[in-house]
C-alpha cells in the first residue's frame, strides 16, 4: 500500500542524505519526496511517499524515528489529510488545438505561466487524481516537457494524529 509520511527534521546539511540513505540502504523505494523549511528555520518538513506492506512501513517509520536528526514521524495515510502536488507542463498544440488546450487548463484551474508562438506552459496543482487526469487530457495536445514537485501533505484540523 502507498503511504504518505510526514517528517520533521533538523534543518542541517546531511539530513536529506541520511533519510534517503535509510531508504536506499534497505532497498525501499521513495516515490516522491519534498522538503522545505517550516516556520522555525531550524526545522524542515519532509513529505515522503513510499510503498510497502505493514511490516515494511513499520520498519521504515521506526528506522526514521531512530535517526538522530528526526524530530517527529507521522504516517498521514490512515488519517484525514490534504495532499497537493504541482506540475508544470509544456504543451506544443497544433494551431487547431490551442483553444482546446486552454479549455482543459481552465477545467483543472491551471494557469498559463508562459507562452510562446508554439507552446503553452501550464501550472496545475491538486491531489494525485486531479494531476493524473489533467495529464491524460493534455496528452493528445502534445506534451513536450513535464515536471512534478512531489507531494506535500498536511493533516486536517481536528484530526488526532497517529504518531509513531
Amino acid at each position: 500500500m502507498r503511504h504518505t509520511i510526514s517528517l520533521l527534521v533538523e534543518n542541517k546539511f546531511g539530513v536529506l542524505s541520511r533519510v534517503a540513505g535509510l531508504f536506499s540502504g534497505r532497498g525501499f523505494n521513495i516515490e516522491s519526496l519534498s522538503v522545505g523549511e517550516t516556520l522555525d528555520p531550524q526545522i524542515s518538513l519532509m513529505t515522503i511517499v513510499t510503498q510497502g506492506d505493514d511490516r515494511i512501513i513499520e520498519q521504515i517509520t521506526k528506522q526514521l524515528n531512530k535517526l538522530i536528526d528526526v524530530i517527529k514521524v507521522v504516517d498521514l495515510t490512515e488519517m484525514d489529510h490534504v495532499e497537493r502536488e504541482m506540475i508544470l507542463i509544456k504543451i506544443t498544440p497544433k494551431p487547431e488545438d490551442r483553444a482546446e488546450t486552454l479549455r482543459i487548463a481552465e477545467i483543472f484551474r491551471g494557469r498559463i505561466v508562459d507562452s510562446s508562438p508554439r507552446t503553452y506552459t501550464i501550472q496545475i496543482t491538486g491531489d494525485e487524481k486531479k494531476i493524473e487526469a489533467a495529464i491524460e487530457l493534455l496528452r493528445p495536445m502534445g506534451i513536450k516537457e513535464l515536471v512534478r514537485t512531489g507531494k506535500v501533505a498536511i493533516a486536517r484540523e481536528g484530526v488526532k494524529k497517529r504518531e509513531m
Binding site: V9, E10, F13, G14, S17, R18, G21, G25, R55, E58, Q59, K62, Q63, N65, K66, L67, I68, D69, V70, I71, K72
Partner: protein, 579 residues
C-alpha cells in the same frame, strides 16, 4: 582564554575521562599530534594500520565498557577505518572516531588526501559530524560521546578540518546537551512487563535467548537471577556468550547455525522464548518461517527497530535490558523457587536428554591435532579466567562451542560483520584496558594475516597477548562450505602450504616469541610455555585441515534441521562432552 581547536579537542577528551587514543598520524592532524607529544594524561597507541586502531578501540570498549577513541588522518587514514567502524556498528560498540579533514575551503575540491568520510561512513555510524566552525568543537565532541554511549551504543565519527583545529576560540565545555530528537527509552512499559511475567509463569517449556544486549547493558546479574529463580534454560548468541555462565547447568551454550544440538532443540520445541538484547539474526533463526513454531515470543530490546524486524513478537518491551529485567524480577520474586523447579522438571529433564544424546564432540586422533582440542586445553589451562578474542571462521565457532565463558566481556568477537582480522587488534585493545589480565586471540591462519602487522604494536607496548593460530592452511570455513555444498571444489580457499608464512619466524621478526605444536602431545606444553612467557606469543598449531564445525544448520534450514559430523555417530575412545 582562547585555545586552538587542537587544544580544545584535547581538553574535551580529558573532560570525557579519556586516557587512551588509538591512532595513526598524518598531515592534517599534526596540530593535534604535536600536542600529544608531551601530554602526560593522554596515551597514544600507535598501531600499524588504521583498521588495527579502530578494532583495538573496539576491543578496548568491549572489554572495559568504556568508549574507545580513534584518531586518524584524512583520506586514506579515514577510509582505512571503515571496516572497523562497520564492525563496531554491527555489534553496537561505542567507539568515537576522530578523522582529520582537509581545510574547510578545500572540501569538495578533490584536494590532496581528501575523502568524504562523513558521506562514506554515514550508513555505518550511529551518527557523524563534520565540524565546520571551531566554536562547535566542544559541543560536538560532548554530543558524540553521549550518542555513542547511550541508548543502543554505536560508533560516532567526528571529522575535523585542519583549519578548525588550527584556529582559536574560547573553550567552554557545555554542562549539558540537549538533542531534541534523541531520547532513547530506558524504562520498559510496566504493563508489558507484567504480561511477560504472566507468560513466564504459564510457560511449560520456556527458553531464554540472550544476546549481546545483556553484556552491553551490564545485565548479567539480573539475567542469572531470572534464570535461576524461574529455572529457565539459557541459550546465547555469539555476542551473548559470557552473559550467563557457560558452566551452569541451565546454560545451553550457543544457539543458531553452529549452536549446540540441545540449544537448537530447546528453542525449536519451546512454548515461550524470552529474547533479551538479541536481534533474531539470520545466523540464529535459520529459516524464519520454521523458527520455534509453537513459541510465544517476549522480546526485550532498547532498539525499537530490532523488535518485529525478523520474527513475530507477542510481548514487545522496549527499554534498557538491565532496567527491564530488574522490573521483571521484582514481579517474579514473590513466587517460590521450589515451585518453579517442580513446574520445569519435565522440560529440564528433556533438555538433559538432548544434552546426553548429542553433546558437542569431536573425534580424537592420536597423531594429528584437532583444533577443538586446542581450545579445550586453553580453557582448561586458563580455567576460563582470560579475555578471549577470536578471528572469523571455524576458529571463531569452535571457540564459541568449546570454551566456556563464565563472565561478561570475556569474549570479544566480530558477530554482526564477521570481520577477519578483528581478533588480534581487539586483543591489543583489551590488553591495553587490562594490562594484568590474560588475553588470548584464537585465530585462523587466514585471518591472522589480515592484521598481522599489529605484532609491532603489541611488542612495543610490551603486551603479553597470546595468539593461538589454528593453522589448517585453508580458509577453513570457506573450505567447509565448499566441501559440503560445492562438491569439494576448493576454489581459492587453499592458502598453499608453502605460502603460509612460518609464523614462528614472523613473530620473531617483530620481537615476539613463536612456538609450534605439530602433535597432540605438544599442545599442552606449548600453551603452558606461552602462558609463562611475558611477551607476545604466536602459537602455531598444525591442526587437522579436514576438520569441520558441527553441528551445522545448512543455509535455508530451520534450526532443528542440523547436520552432524561422523564423530557423533560413533562414540568411541575420547568423546568429550561439554556439560
Amino acid at each position: 582564554m582562547k585555545l586552538t581547536g587542537a587544544e580544545i579537542f584535547i581538553e574535551c577528551l580529558k573532560k570525557e575521562k579519556v586516557d587512551t587514543i588509538f591512532g595513526y598520524p598524518g598531515g592534517v592532524v599534526l596540530n593535534i599530534f604535536d600536542l600529544l607529544y608531551d601530554d602526560k594524561d593522554l596515551r597514544v597507541i600507535l598501531t600499524r594500520h588504521e583498521q588495527g586502531a579502530t578494532h583495538a578501540a573496539d576491543g578496548y570498549a568491549r572489554a572495559s565498557g568504556k568508549p574507545g577513541v580513534v584518531l586518524v588522518t584524512s583520506g586514506p587514514g579515514a577510509t582505512n577505518t571503515v571496516t572497523g567502524i562497520a564492525n563496531a556498528f554491527m555489534d553496537s560498540i561505542p567507539v568515537i572516531i576522530f578523522s582529520g579533514q582537509v581545510p574547510t575551503k578545500l572540501i569538495g575540491n578533490d584536494a590532496f588526501q581528501e575523502a568524504d568520510i562523513v558521506g562514506i561512513s554515514r550508513p555505518c555510524t550511529k551518527y557523524n559530524y563534520l565540524v565546520k566552525d571551531i566554536r562547535d568543537i566542544a559541543s560536538i565532541i560532548k554530543e558524540a560521546f553521549h550518542i555513542a554511549t547511550s541508548g543502543r551504543p554505536g560508533p560516532v565519527l567526528v571529522d575535523l578540518p585542519k583549519d578548525v583545529t588550527a584556529g582559536k576560540s574560547e573553550f567552554i565545555y557545555p554542562e549539558e546537551i540537549n538533542i531534541r530528537s534523541y531520547n532513547p527509552t530506558y524504562a520498559g512499559n510496566r504493563w508489558q512487563i507484567k504480561q511477560a511475567a504472566v507468560a513466564i509463569a504459564k510457560a511449560r517449556k520456556p527458553v531464554i535467548y540472550a544476546g549481546g544486549g545483556v553484556i552491553l547493558s551490564n545485565a548479567s546479574e539480573e539475567l542469572i537471577w531470572l534464570a535461576e529463580h524461574t529455572q529457565i534454560p539459557v541459550a546465547m548468541t555469539l555476542m551473548g556468550l559470557g552473559g550467563f555462565p557457560g558452566d551452569d547447568s541451565l546454560s545451553l551454550g550457543m544457539l543458531g547455525m553452529h549452536g549446540s544440538y540441545y540449544a537448537n532443540m530447546a528453542i525449536h520445541n519451546s512454548d515461550l522464548i524470552i529474547a533479551i538484547g538479541a536481534r533474531f539474526d539470520d545466523r540464529v533463526t535459520g529459516r524464519v518461517e520454521g523458527f520455534a513454531p509453537d513459541a510465544k515470543i517476549i522480546h526485550i530490546d532498547i532498539d525499537p527497530t530490532s523488535i518485529r524486524k525478523n520474527v513475530r513478537v507477542d510481548i514487545p518491551i522496549v527499554g534498557d535490558v538491565k532496567l527491564v529485567l530488574k522490573d521483571l524480577n521484582e514481579i517474579l520474586k514473590d513466587e517460590v523457587k521450589e515451585q518453579w523447579s517442580e513446574i520445569r522438571k519435565a522440560w529440564l529433564k528433556q533438555i538433559d536428554e538432548w544434552k546426553r544424546e548429542r553433546p558437542l564432540t569431536y573425534a580424537w586422533d592420536e597423531d594429528i591435532i584437532k583444533p577443538q582440542f586446542v581450545i579445550e586445553k586453553i580453557y582448561e589451562l586458563t580455567k576460563g579466567d582470560a579475555i578471549i578474542t577470536t578471528e572469523v571462521g571455524q576458529n571463531q565457532m569452535w571457540t564459541a562451542q568449546f570454551y566456556k565463558f563464565h563472565k561478561p566481556r570475556t569474549l570479544l568477537s566480530s558477530g554482526g560483520l564477521g570481520t577477519m582480522g578483528y581478533g588480534f587488534p581487539a586483543a591489543i585493545g583489551a590488553q591495553i584496558a587490562f594490562p594484568d589480565k590474560l588475553v588470548i586471540d584464537i585465530a585462523g591462519d587466514g585471518s591472522i594475516q589480515m592484521n598481522i602487522q599489529e605484532l609491532a604494536t603489541a611488542v612495543i607496548h610490551k603486551l603479553k597477548i597470546k595468539v593461538a593460530i589454528l593453522n589448517n592452511q585453508y580458509l577453513g570455513m570457506v573450505r567447509q562450505w565448499q566441501e559440503l555444498f560445492f562438491r569439494e571444489r576448493y576454489s581459492y580457499s587453499y592458502l598453499h602450504t608453502e605460502q603460509v608464512p612460518d609464523f614462528v619466524k614472523v613473530a620473531e621478526a617483530y620481537g615476539a616469541v613463536g612456538l609450534r605444536a605439530k602433535k597432540p602431545s605438544e599442545v599442552e606444553p606449548v600453551i603452558k610455555e606461552a602462558l609463562r612467557i611475558k611477551n607476545t606469543v604466536f602459537m602455531d598449531f598444525f591442526v587437522d585441515w579436514r576438520e569441520k564445525v558441527f553441528p551445522m544448520v545448512p543455509a535455508g534450514g530451520a534450526i532443528h534441521e542440523m547436520i552432524f559430523g561422523e564423530e557423533t555417530k560413533q562414540p568411541e575412545k575420547k568423546l568429550k562432552a561439554v556439560k
